[in-house]
């Protein structure tokens, strides 16, 4: 395998890694935000219930 082929493979690896890092990071942020929103929603619901009692 020539040095050009090895460079090609390295950059192919970087390309696919970059794509997956972006997508996985996005999904991770999506899940984190979802949890934060759910927590806030539950907190406010219990607050409203308490105030109504």
């Amino acid at each position: 395998m020539s040095s050009v082929d090895i460079t090609n493979l390295h950059f192919l690896f970087y390309g696919y890694s970059a794509a997956w890092i972006v997508m996985i990071a996005f999904v991770f942020l999506l899940v984190q935000r979802g949890r934060r929103i759910d927590r806030e929603l539950n907190r406010l619901k219990s607050l409203v219930e308490d105030k109504e009692k």
Partner: protein, 226 residues
Amino acid sequence: MREKIIYGLGILGTILLLYNFYNIFLVIPIDALQGAIYRIIFIHVPAAITAFSFYGVAVFASIVFLIRKNFWWDSLAVSAVEVGTMFTLVNLATGSIWGRVEWGIWWAWDARMTSQLMCFLLYLGYLLMRPAIAEPQQRGIMSAVLAIFAAADIPIVVMAIRLHNVRTQHPGPVLETWGLAPVYWPPFLIGIICFLLLGSAMILVRLHQESSRREIDSLRRELHAI
């Protein structure tokens, strides 16, 4: 039901993606001119097509929001823009890495790449602008107008490599000229379907978060009233 659809889309997209990886890395032959690096095209182009499809959804949702003032459409628009922007970033990153090998440079300020970067920045601006406007109606209208305005850049991106009087570093069109070898079409098309399925699942998750957010806003108002 919503969760079943999300999981269904996610699982189907992942299975297709794994099958596609098998095809890309183990079945189809290496390109004679570019070597192994050409395999980036199976992520780079589907990411752009997926992003533009979702921007199209955002424009449609924005127009409907401006007409009906129903916040569900605003939520759909922001969800589609967010996922579309993520895919645009994937497109820019993979393109830059491919360019480093093929051209010896990470970036060229040619018409295609600059217009695509502008598209990314315009929609990033859309996402950054939204939290700055507190009033929901005003936020929805401003966002809808910006989403439609930003979409004017998409035809420029598409046409940048098709106009005869514009010289670009970026390769010319291969899709409509059937410049892609027949053996490369299946992984290419499956790549687009995978990203559309996974992106749709992400949009549905995001859409649910937006509806929860609206519920939070109404609960806050209720708390103030009590």
